[in-house]
C-alpha cells in the first residue's frame, strides 16, 4: 500500500515538474527578435500606444496586437534596466506591473521601444518596425475621478462616480447611486490644493424622496448645502439666481470658497446625426463660503441679461474665469456662443473687480466653454465648439489653449474629428486629462496628454485597462475626468449614507429640477 502511494506521488511530482518546466520554458524561450525577417511597417495595436508621451507613474499600457498570427512576442526596452518580454497567444499583451514600473522609473525622460514579433500560421516569425514612446520626466497626478454612464439617457438608475489609481488598475467607487435611491450623481470637483475637500452634486426623486443636493465634503464628512437659498429673496445680498440645483463648481485655492453655477437646462433631440443636445436657458454664478455656510453673489456674475456658467479660479485666487452669453430662444440654439470672461476678486474683503472679456466668441467664431487655468496661471485650456454649452455632444468640440499674457489662442494638435472635452490640468501643470470620443463618436474615453514648457500637447495616452479589450466591448462612457493628488476624502459608503439620510420629501419643484444630462 505504502509502495503504491509512493509510486503515485513520484509520478505526480514528475508530471507536475515536466509541466512547470514546459510552461516556464515556453515563457522564457528566446523569441527570434533578431533573426525574424522584418516587415516594413509598424504593427496594428489597440489601443494605439505609439509615438505617445507616457507618464512615468502610469499602469502598464496593455494592448492587443491586431495582426494575423498564432502568437505574438512583445519586447519593451529602454536605455536603462532590463527589457520586458511578453508572449501572448491571443494577441492580448499584458505587462507584469513590477517590471513595468521599474522600467519606467529607470528611464524617466528617455525613450521606450516596443518591438513586436508575430508567429505566422506557417510557423515562422516576422518582426514589425519598432514603436517608440517617450517616458516623461514629470509624473501625472496619481488619481482620476470620473463618471461612468451609458451614453444617452434622461432617466437614470445606474450612474456612478469612480476613482481610479492611475498607477495601477484599481478602480474604487466614490458614489454609487444604488445606495441613495438611484439618484443621478454628477459634477464631482476635488479641491486642487486641498485633497481633503471636494464637492459633488446629486439630483433625483425616487419614491417621494428628493435625493438632490450639493454635497460639500471636508475631512471625511459630507454636508448637504442648499445652494437654492440664493434664489430666495431676503436671504442673500441679491437673491436672483435661477431656482436650480448647482451645476458646475470650482474650489477657490484657499479651500474656503466654492463658486458654482445654477443652471436651468434645456434638453432636446436631433432627428438626424447625434441625438442629444443640451443648452442652458438660465444660468448664474454664486459663491458658497464653506466656513460660515453662507452664500453670496454679485451682479457681474449673475447679470439678468447674461447667462454665466463654467466658473473656475486662477491659481492665485484673485481672478474668477467663467463663460457667458446672451439669453437665447430655443430655435436659436445653433447661434448660441459663449465668451470667456474674467473678474477680479479679493477673498479677504470679498470685493469684486472689473468684468472683462478674455476671448470673445465673435473673435473665434466658436462657443468657448469649460475654461481651466493652468497651475502656473499662464494659460487657459478651453473647449471650443460650433455652438452652445455642452461640447461633449458636439463633434466640433476641440481643446484650445489660450496664452494669457499675449491673449493668443490655438487649437491643440491632439484634437480629433470627434468631441474632445471635459479637460483638466494635473497639479504640476505638465499633464492634461480629457474625455474624447475619438474612437467612435459615442463612447467617451479618458486620455492623458503631456504639455511641455512651450505649451505643445503631445500625442495622448488612453487610460490603460488590465484587459486591453475592455474598451472594445464597454458600452459606458467616461466623462468629467478630474485629476487628483490624493484619493477621495470620503468613502462611498459614508457618502451614500449621508446623501440618503439627508434626502427630504420631494416637492413639485424637485420633480422638475431633477433633469440633468
Amino acid at each position: 500500500m505504502k509502495k503504491s502511494i509512493l509510486l503515485v506521488s513520484v509520478t505526480v511530482l514528475i508530471l507536475v515538474s515536466l509541466l512547470a518546466w514546459g510552461g516556464l520554458a515556453g515563457r522564457f524561450s528566446t523569441t527570434p527578435f533578431e533573426a525574424a525577417p522584418h516587415v516594413d511597417r509598424r504593427p496594428v495595436i489597440s489601443p494605439d500606444y505609439c509615438d505617445t508621451t507616457i507618464p512615468p507613474n502610469i499602469a502598464p499600457l496593455n494592448f492587443v496586437v491586431d495582426e494575423a498570427g498564432e502568437e505574438c512576442a512583445v519586447r519593451l526596452s529602454a536605455e536603462h534596466g532590463d527589457s520586458i518580454t511578453v508572449r501572448a497567444k491571443g494577441g492580448r499583451v499584458a505587462f507584469p506591473s513590477g517590471s513595468w514600473r521599474r522600467l519606467l522609473a529607470e528611464n524617466r525622460g528617455g525613450k521606450m521601444t516596443i518591438d513586436v514579433c508575430v508567429r505566422t500560421e506557417e510557423g515562422g516569425w516576422k518582426r514589425f518596425q519598432p514603436m517608440v514612446n517617450t517616458i516623461a520626466e514629470d509624473e501625472i497626478d496619481p488619481y482620476v475621478y470620473y463618471r461612468l454612464i451609458h451614453p444617452l439617457h434622461t432617466v437614470y438608475s445606474d450612474v456612478n462616480v469612480y476613482q481610479r489609481d492611475i498607477r495601477s488598475f484599481n478602480e474604487f467607487p466614490l458614489a454609487l447611486n444604488r445606495s441613495f435611491g438611484d439618484a443621478c450623481v454628477n459634477c464631482h470637483t476635488p479641491a486642487a490644493n486641498h485633497p481633503d475637500r471636494m464637492v459633488l452634486q446629486t439630483r433625483g426623486v425616487r419614491e417621494g424622496r428628493n435625493y438632490g443636493g450639493t454635497f460639500v465634503i471636508r475631512d471625511g464628512e459630507a454636508r448637504k448645502v442648499d445652494t437654492r437659498r440664493l434664489a430666495r429673496p431676503g436671504e442673500t445680498d441679491r437673491g436672483r439666481l435661477p431656482k436650480a440645483m448647482a451645476g458646475y463648481s470650482a474650489w477657490h485655492p484657499n479651500g474656503e470658497i466654492l463658486v458654482f453655477s445654477a443652471n436651468k437646462i434645456h434638453q432636446f433631440m436631433h432627428a438626424v446625426g447625434d441625438v442629444r443636445d443640451v443648452g442652458d436657458t438660465e444660468s448664474d454664478l454664486g459663491l458658497y463660503h464653506v466656513e460660515d455656510d453662507r452664500l453670496s453673489t454679485c451682479p457681474a456674475i449673475s447679470a439678468p441679461d447674461r447667462l454665466e456658467t463654467f466658473p473656475t479660479w486662477s491659481p492665485d485666487g484673485h481672478t474668477l474665469y467663467f463663460c457667458a452669453t446672451d439669453p437665447w430662444a430655443p430655435e436659436e440654439y445653433a447661434q448660441v456662443r459663449y465668451d470667456l470672461m474674467r473678474i477680479g476678486y479679493d477673498p479677504e474683503s470679498e470685493t469684486w473687480g472689473e468684468l472683462e472679456t478674455v476671448l470673445s466668441s465673435e473673435t473665434t467664431g466658436l462657443s468657448i466653454t469649460e475654461p481651466r487655468v493652468s497651475p502656473d496661471g499662464k494659460r487657459v485650456l478651453v473647449c471650443m465648439s460650433d455652438y452652445g454649452s455642452f461640447p461633449v455632444y458636439q463633434k466640433s468640440s476641440d481643446l484650445y489653449l489660450i496664452d494669457l499674457p499675449s491673449g493668443e489662442y490655438r487649437r491643440l494638435e491632439i484634437n480629433s474629428p470627434r468631441s474632445d472635452s471635459w479637460h483638466c490640468w494635473s497639479s504640476n501643470g505638465r499633464w492634461i486629462a480629457f474625455a474624447s470620443k475619438r474612437d467612435n463618436g459615442l463612447f467617451g474615453r479618458i486620455y492623458f496628454s503631456y504639455v511641455d514648457e512651450a505649451g505643445q500637447a503631445h500625442k495622448p495616452v488612453l487610460l490603460p485597462q488590465e484587459d486591453p479589450t475592455f474598451y472594445d466591448r464597454s458600452i459606458r462612457t467616461y466623462n468629467a475626468p478630474e485629476l487628483a493628488v490624493a484619493p477621495a476624502p470620503i468613502t462611498s459608503r459614508v457618502l451614500g449614507r449621508t446623501i440618503r439620510e439627508s434626502s427630504e420629501p420631494a416637492t413639485e419643484d424637485a420633480q422638475q429640477m431633477q433633469m440633468h444630462p
Binding site: 439617457h153 436631433h270 432627428a271 438626424v272 463618436g441 472594445d472 466591448r473 464597454s474 458600452i475 449614507r497
Partner: protein
C-alpha cells in the same frame, strides 16, 4: 427492519420522482417558462468583470446564479427542468434537515414549500432568485448540522462566520439560515439560549452590516426575504398581497417544516445531547420513533394530497389573465402577430388590463403587421384617453420611465432612428441589458453608418450565454459589408430614415409621424399610424385634410375605418360632397352609417339607451368609437357583459 426501510426508501423515491415529473409537465405546459424568461431576459456575460460586478454586493452570488439560470428559460422544457431541479434540491435539503432536527423523514412537511412555489409560479413571479437563495441557505444549514457534533464554542464561531458569509452571498436569506440553525440548536441540543442567540444574530447582522460597514438601505439589506420589484411591468403581480404572502409562505414553509420536525422530536432516555449529531449523521433511527413512522396509508396519501394541493393552488390562484398578457408581449417581441391577436381575444373582457396601453400597443402593431390596422382596430379594445398607439407621452420623462423599450421598438419600425436610439438607451438604463435592446442598438448604428459603434454592442453580445452566435454572425457580416445592405431589418429601416435634421424631443406623436411622412411619403407605417392617431383623437377633419396621403402609397380604396371617419366628417360638417379622387365610398359604409344615425336618433339623446342599442351591431365601427369613445366605462361594462 432493513428491508422495510429499503422498500420505504424506494417508495419514497418513486413518489418523489412521480411528483417531480408531474411538476415538470405543469411548469412546461401550464406556466410556460418562456414567459418568465421575458420578465428577466438580461444577458449573462461569460467574463470576469461581469462576475465581479454582480457579486460585489450582498446577495450578489444569488444574483449571479439567477442571471446564469434565467436565460435558459427561453426554452420551456429547459426552464421547467431547472425549476424542477431546484425544487427537488430544496425538497431534499429540507428533508435532510428535518431528518436531522426531528430524526424523522418529514414525509409530508418537506413538500409544503413546493405547493407554495407552484402558487408563486402561477402568479408569474420569477422563481429562480428565491429558489437559489433558499437552496443556498438550506445547504449551509445542512452543513452546519453535519458538523453538529463539534463543541459548542466551535459551532458558535462557525455559525457567525457562516452567517456573515451567507449575508454577503444571499443578503436577507441569511435570516433563514439563522432560523434553521436555531431550530437545530434548540431542538437537538436543547440549547434554547443559543438558539435564541442565533435568531437574534440572524436578525441583527444584516441590519447592522447594512448600516455599517456597507451602508445599505434596509430594502437592500433584506433583499431575498421579500418579493422584490421587477423591472418589467408584468413582473408586478396582479395581486401583490397574494404574491407577497405566497412568497413569504415558501420561506416560512421551509422553516416551519424544520421547526415542526424538531417540535415532534421525542428524546429517548438514553439520548445524550452531545451524541445526537453523531446519531443524525449516521442516519440511525432511534427506537422510540419507530412507532411514529407514518402508516402505509399516510405514505400513499402524501403524494395524492400533494397533487390535490397543487391542483387546488392552480385552480384558486393561477393568473390566467397575466398569462394572456405575457403571451401577447412575448409573441409581440417575436413578431408572431397571429398569436398576439389570438391571445388578445383570450383576455377576459371584464379585465381592465385588456385596455392597458401596452397591450393595446401590441395588438395595434399586430393589426398593422397583418395589414388590417385601419380595417379592424375598433374590433379590439382601444384607449382614447392616453397614448396607446406609440406609447409616446407628452412628457419625454414619462415616456422614458414608462415605456422606453416599446417606444424604441416602434420608433425603429417607423424609421425614427434617432428617437429609437434615445429610447433604447433609456431602456438600457431602466430595464437593464436586455438582448433585444442591445441588438436594436447594433442595428441602429449600422443604419446610421457607424459600424464601429455597432461592433461594441455585438462584442458585448458575443460574450453572452445565448446570443453569441447571433452576434458573431453579424460581426462577420459587418466585416464583409459594413452597411449590411442584404440584411432585411436594416435595409427596410434604411429606406425610411429621416434625412433632414430637426429638433424636438419626440413628445408630439402627431408631429413626429407627419415629419416621417414629409421625409418619406411612402412610409406606410407612419401613414397608417398617423391615421389611427387621428381616429383615436377624433380628428376626422385631419383625416379628411390628409386623405391625399393615401395616393402616395397607391391604396386602391380607403381603409374601412378611414371611410367611416370620412362619413362622420361629411355628416358633422354638412358637406354635400367630398372629393375622393379616384376612390369612392362603399355603399355599405353609407348604409351602415345611415342605420347608425337612425338608431342613435331613436334614443332621443339618451346616451345609455343609444349605447345599448348600437353596441351589438356597431361596436367594431368607427361610428361607434366616434360617438362613444368618451364613454369608455360603458364600453368596458358592455364588453364585460358580453
Amino acid at each position: 427492519m432493513l428491508s422495510r426501510r429499503k422498500s420505504d426508501g424506494l417508495a419514497l423515491f418513486a413518489q418523489s420522482v412521480g411528483l417531480l415529473v408531474i411538476l415538470w409537465f405543469y411548469v412546461c405546459y401550464r406556466v410556460r417558462p418562456e414567459l418568465l424568461y421575458y420578465l428577466r431576459p438580461h444577458v449573462f456575460l461569460l467574463d470576469r468583470s461581469f462576475f465581479f460586478e454582480t457579486v460585489n454586493r450582498p446577495g450578489g452570488l444569488v444574483d449571479y446564479l439567477s442571471a446564469f439560470l434565467s436565460p435558459w428559460f427561453a426554452w420551456d422544457w429547459l426552464g421547467a427542468a431547472i425549476v424542477v431541479a431546484l425544487v427537488a434540491l430544496i425538497c431534499a435539503a429540507t428533508r435532510s434537515l428535518i431528518a436531522a432536527v426531528g430524526q424523522r423523514g418529514g414525509e409530508i412537511a418537506y413538500w409544503l414549500p413546493v405547493v407554495f412555489l407552484v402558487t408563486l409560479l402561477g402568479q408569474y413571479c420569477h422563481p429562480v432568485p428565491l429558489c437559489v437563495g433558499l437552496l443556498l441557505v438550506l445547504l449551509g444549514a445542512n452543513l452546519y448540522v453535519w458538523q453538529g457534533g463539534l463543541p459548542v464554542l466551535i459551532r458558535m464561531v462557525a455559525f457567525v462566520a457562516a452567517l456573515a458569509a451567507f449575508f454577503f452571498l444571499a443578503a436577507g436569506m441569511c435570516v433563514v439560515f439563522a432560523c434553521l440553525c436555531a431550530c437545530y440548536e434548540g431542538f437537538v441540543h436543547r440549547n434554547r439560549l443559543l438558539a435564541a442567540g442565533y435568531l437574534l444574530c440572524g436578525l441583527l447582522l444584516p441590519v447592522a452590516a447594512g448600516w455599517w460597514p456597507l451602508c445599505l438601505t434596509y430594502a437592500d439589506t433584506l433583499r431575498g426575504l421579500y418579493l422584490s420589484e421587477g423591472q418589467h411591468w408584468l413582473a408586478i403581480p396582479s395581486s401583490p398581497p397574494l404574491a407577497m404572502t405566497v412568497y413569504s409562505l415558501v420561506i416560512l414553509a421551509v422553516v416551519s417544516a424544520v421547526a415542526l420536525g424538531g417540535w415532534r422530536r421525542k428524546p429517548t432516555s438514553s439520548e445524550k445531547v452531545d451524541q445526537v449529531a453523531a446519531d443524525d449523521s449516521n442516519d440511525a433511527e432511534p427506537e422510540g420513533n419507530v412507532s411514529a413512522r407514518p402508516s402505509r396509508m399516510i405514505r400513499v396519501a402524501v403524494p395524492v394530497g400533494a397533487l390535490a394541493l397543487l391542483c387546488l393552488a392552480d385552480v384558486l390562484t393561477f393568473d390566467s389573465t397575466k398569462q394572456c398578457l405575457l403571451e401577447i408581449e412575448c409573441h409581440s417581441l417575436q413578431r408572431q402577430w397571429d398569436e398576439v391577436l389570438a391571445w388578445s381575444e383570450r383576455i377576459p373582457a371584464s379585465d381592465e388590463r385588456s385596455y392597458d396601453p401596452r397591450i393595446v400597443y401590441c395588438v395595434n402593431r399586430a393589426l398593422y403587421s397583418k395589414g388590417v390596422l385601419l380595417e379592424r382596430m375598433f374590433a379590439y379594445p382601444q384607449v382614447f384617453f392616453m397614448p396607446s398607439l406609440t406609447l409616446i407621452h407628452a412628457d419625454i420623462d414619462t415616456t422614458s420611465r414608462l415605456t422606453p423599450r416599446q417606444c424604441s421598438e416602434i420608433f425603429f419600425d417607423l424609421g425614427g432612428i434617432n428617437e429609437s436610439e434615445q429610447m433604447a438607451y433609456e431602456a438600457l438604463e431602466l430595464c437593464g441589458r436586455r438582448p433585444e435592446t442591445l441588438k436594436r442598438l447594433a442595428h441602429i448604428y449600422v443604419i446610421k453608418g457607424e459600424p464601429e459603434i455597432a461592433r461594441h454592442f455585438l462584442r458585448l453580445l458575443e460574450r453572452s450565454l445565448l446570443h453569441h452566435r447571433w452576434a458573431q454572425d453579424l460581426l462577420d457580416q459587418l466585416d464583409t459589408d459594413p452597411t449590411l445592405s442584404s440584411d432585411p431589418v436594416v435595409a427596410s429601416r434604411r429606406e425610411l430614415v429621416v434625412k433632414q435634421d430637426s429638433i424636438g424631443d419626440a413628445r408630439d406623436v402627431e408631429l413626429l409621424l407627419e415629419g416621417l411622412l414629409e421625409s418619406n411619403p411612402r412610409n406606410q407605417m407612419a401613414l397608417e399610424y398617423l391615421m389611427a392617431h387621428y381616429l383615436l383623437t377624433r380628428q376626422v377633419d385631419r383625416i379628411a385634410a390628409e386623405r391625399s396621403r393615401f395616393d402616395a402609397l397607391d391604396y386602391p380604396e380607403f381603409p374601412r375605418h378611414v371611410e367611416e371617419a370620412l362619413a362622420c366628417y361629411v355628416a358633422t360638417t354638412g358637406l354635400k360632397e367630398l372629393d375622393l379622387g379616384s376612390r369612392s365610398f362603399h355603399a355599405e359604409t353609407w348604409r351602415r352609417f345611415s342605420k347608425f344615425v337612425e338608431l342613435h336618433q331613436q334614443a332621443h339623446g339618451n346616451t345609455e339607451a343609444a349605447f345599448t342599442s348600437l353596441f351589438p351591431e356597431f361596436h367594431d365601427t368607427y361610428f361607434f368609437a366616434f360617438a362613444f369613445s368618451h364613454n369608455i366605462e360603458s364600453l368596458k361594462a358592455v364588453r364585460a357583459v358580453e
